[in-house]
Symmetry: C5
Subunit: 154 residues, 5 copies
Amino acid sequence: MINIGVADTTFARYDMAASAIDELKRIGTGFKIVRRTVPGIKDLPVACKKLIEEQGCGIVIALGMPGPADKDRVCAHEASQGLIHAQLLTNTHIIEVFVHEDETTDGRELAKLADHRSREHARNAYDMMFHPERLAKNAGKGLREGFGDAGPVE
Amino acid sequence: MINIGVADTTFARYDMAASAIDELKRIGTGFKIVRRTVPGIKDLPVACKKLIEEQGCGIVIALGMPGPADKDRVCAHEASQGLIHAQLLTNTHIIEVFVHEDETTDGRELAKLADHRSREHARNAYDMMFHPERLAKNAGKGLREGFGDAGPVE
Amino acid sequence: MINIGVADTTFARYDMAASAIDELKRIGTGFKIVRRTVPGIKDLPVACKKLIEEQGCGIVIALGMPGPADKDRVCAHEASQGLIHAQLLTNTHIIEVFVHEDETTDGRELAKLADHRSREHARNAYDMMFHPERLAKNAGKGLREGFGDAGPVE
Amino acid sequence: MINIGVADTTFARYDMAASAIDELKRIGTGFKIVRRTVPGIKDLPVACKKLIEEQGCGIVIALGMPGPADKDRVCAHEASQGLIHAQLLTNTHIIEVFVHEDETTDGRELAKLADHRSREHARNAYDMMFHPERLAKNAGKGLREGFGDAGPVE
Amino acid sequence: MINIGVADTTFARYDMAASAIDELKRIGTGFKIVRRTVPGIKDLPVACKKLIEEQGCGIVIALGMPGPADKDRVCAHEASQGLIHAQLLTNTHIIEVFVHEDETTDGRELAKLADHRSREHARNAYDMMFHPERLAKNAGKGLREGFGDAGPVE
């Protein structure tokens, strides 16, 4: 039985973790989900590391929704660096799922984007644990999460 | 008995630690507060790490007030990276409470913002230690500290 | 028998790993290739570290294609920092092969650039493992991968 | 007997370490000063770490004077990140004393600023070692080093 | 017998390592030079760490020539961060010698700058190993490598 960690925030304006967890439950079994909610995205790196080292998670999904200001962009950068660092210290993948509030101006569309991206990355996390060959098959295919795929060049 | 660390600076123009400590004392018992004051925000990361490793703190609140210049923004970025790094090295949460001097132009409002944000994050720290389920309940709710909440999309 | 790691992404719009692997097979023997595909470039650092520490790779080629937006540039920066960090933690070279989508506006040219750069860096990786004297001979020669060489000054 | 480290550069255009050392000698006894001079500010992080780990310093003062160009600003950022990292790896405070050449346009004023800031931070370092209660008393007081204090808000 | 490491790149448009090595041989004896050439500056951090940990170098000179584009500036920043990190992990100085292609528009001058800076930093490295008192004597003197010295203020 593998533990999959899900870390999210009270800052986000959509319950992205609910989408990710729902998707995980639809696509497979053989794992247990451990969820932790923290205030903001800068609290995610250590939350993920604790999920790995204290809760035995074999992979973690880290979800957040940075705001539209310059300050928020810097926060997201710091959080991303921390998430990469946490992975290097644990030899464990953490799938970062960030939806920037300014990726769309429409609230309804933002909710849809957050839902879709969370679900698609939940599938990525699942595949990385149980079906890595599915990722290999899509190498260089220009896949995008949340929006339509870009596809291969030409 | 759990130790809660509080680290702040002489650079800040408001005694944010006093607000955080007052709030902690209002909302609960069962913990001891250990406070350290350093010159500036770049001194906070190691101060917090020492509170965790040398004073046995189970969580730390790091309070600072970066100035309005470009140079100050870079300082805040460096301090934030250091705080995330300190967390990863200790598997312990450090709640960063930064109030940027240019978030408002009015002195009185800045003081109010610093007081409110420090108190709200003190509650976050307390909940993370003693009531993590309260954070889970607010996942994706668009909470903000110091200002009014943004709320969920739509 | 030396293992050479190849890590790439489903985000990239060209199968750069196929080019690198084809080139490796053309130029030599005496090694085994281990390939891992991850969603995006920020997943590469830990993927490479795992190739080194869990699959025994003596060198890794990390291939990715960052998009043209500001956000993509930040992602590439974070990934590059992580790749350097992974190298320092393992004392093992990871050859970063990034092709930025905006290095050219023509799809066909982008594909050619991705193919050429991947092949030339595959040769670099091979030489670093088996023929370091070839790199020493080209020190300060203004070599470029993917485009024509800049050559030495004057 | 406590060792206080002082690290400075040949790049700086003022002998800031001389000011810091003179101030340390005026304000107290019970410590020995160990000084190291390196070429530039990017050499300071490891110089400070060596002062801590190889010379047994309980605190270090790191002095430098970044130039006015964009490139210099990046150097200062890299040095600051390194100094924070060195602190986290040693659980020891390093007081950064940087004077940017463009903080003033007048040579004489720059010299005065460098002298004052070095002395005030020497006192900070001394207090952190021997009188931490003095920093606690000044928490949130808007202290500045080198220029006049900003003071608390309102 | 002390080993001095020299790490350089095939990307650079001038053989800076040759200048550094020639200078080292002119100024002293009692050391052995170990040279490694890598493709680009981002490969330098781990190359230097390997020179220290696998070849027993007591100090390393890292030479590179970043290009003039924004992307090159980011590369140089990443390389510099990695070089500082490598020093902190080994408690060993690595003298970074970067010449930016856009420091001058004239090819002949660029070659001269690269030659001079490499030689002056080779002397810095030599002095740091064998005559640290020479650096101490020049503290705060506004020294510059490659161009004329700025000198002390006033």
